[in-house]
Symmetry: C2
Subunit: 272 residues, 2 copies
Amino acid sequence: MDETGLDVQVLSVTTPAMHDLGVVSIDVARRPNDVAAAAIERHPNRFQALATLPVAFPNESARELERCVKTLGIKGLMLCGRVGDRNLDDASFAPIFETAAALGVPVLLHPRTPDPTMRKVSYSVFSPEVDNTLAQYGLGWHYDAGMQFVRLVLSGIFDRLPNLQVILGHWGEVVLFYVDRMKSLDQVSGLKHPIAHYLRRNLYVTGSGMNDPTYMARVTEIVGADRLLFSTDYPYQYKPGGEARRFLNECGLEGAEKSGFASENWLRLTGG
Amino acid sequence: MDETGLDVQVLSVTTPAMHDLGVVSIDVARRPNDVAAAAIERHPNRFQALATLPVAFPNESARELERCVKTLGIKGLMLCGRVGDRNLDDASFAPIFETAAALGVPVLLHPRTPDPTMRKVSYSVFSPEVDNTLAQYGLGWHYDAGMQFVRLVLSGIFDRLPNLQVILGHWGEVVLFYVDRMKSLDQVSGLKHPIAHYLRRNLYVTGSGMNDPTYMARVTEIVGADRLLFSTDYPYQYKPGGEARRFLNECGLEGAEKSGFASENWLRLTGG
């Protein structure tokens, strides 16, 4: 470790430029975590937070995650898909997932825009506006995030870290709806269990403001009602006038399943 | 047209090499069409066929399609996704779709393995066996085929050819299950109608041997029972012992909807 607090030993390339990038990256991650922690301290009944990490530096990320959870009371972490050309199952990211599992905090996989090469091959259609929408919230974001989860499963990470918990938004980011077909991967995966097993042991799902009872019912069949999390995607999908509250009332869940979806599944997952 | 029967005017690059490729390509397509036509002639109550086309040569494909439908009694055509680096909405393929619409025959979009670049970015995981399955029938094939359909919709082809009919297999190749999210594209698409409109006017869906009542029920909600087609994917997904027949009996459709799914939707689509 040097005077900047950066463990230069763990950088895969320790050129001066990489070192400087590491310093900036860690600083950029720490600041929103501190801001979030201050907001939580002022309004502990209104706010909770997920950690922002300098993901390109996995060992530093693991240390920052530990600080966030142990010192700042942050409840988990958010990863935004691919980092440069590395998918999240890349072995270099192991320290992040190992630390999350050791601390018992969940990893939310947030969608990100697909790789530039994929955008060119698959998501370039006609106008910049259509292309952007297709590559982002129209479809591309979601498949990209779903694929990160499928890749994590296939990497065997949940065999190595059986209590690691991942959260997918948007009712499972497309891929969850095709789980019956993905069963074909069980023949070749070499995993300890069928893929369906990990969906009921290592995955939580939230709707991200998509108040869609059909999607919710299908996801409930796949992961179980005790793995559903309520969310509004405020201020994006969120519409004023109580729509999110109405969805909670009319989503078809009752009793313990409904209160689980509303908050208790989250509280159980994160220790309150 | 030269002595080989190839219209050299319509090749985008009329080098000798392209000309030779065109000759081979057309020959390779014609032969299975002739073989299929001979089998249909011998067993008209057992067989029907979709045309194989030299897709890299769209004008030649249009002529071959016309021959297949008018002379050989073939019922439609099959396209296998991307051709080289061109997606199916590429303007060069317009003659194929225009001819299908003019003849009133459906276009089946068959999955194909994603582009090599995408395989490297998204579908390379660990072992060649896992990678192949993930890129093919585990997930990749299906998303690729589904995206071809989404791209066709966004290209405005169904506004230009409102009676063009496309068939997707595997209960809509992943993307159909995410149609509620794809509605966001309606804001920017510039199409005459919302995407949901084209799903009920220009799309037929078959299960390709995935005898899954949940998938079928969801697809029925999206495209309507009059746009479902029965299929077994023999000899791949097909299992002996009457499973496909049992699925037909137990899929939840009754009366006209059941007989439509079994055969009448197909007969109506293809004129018997």
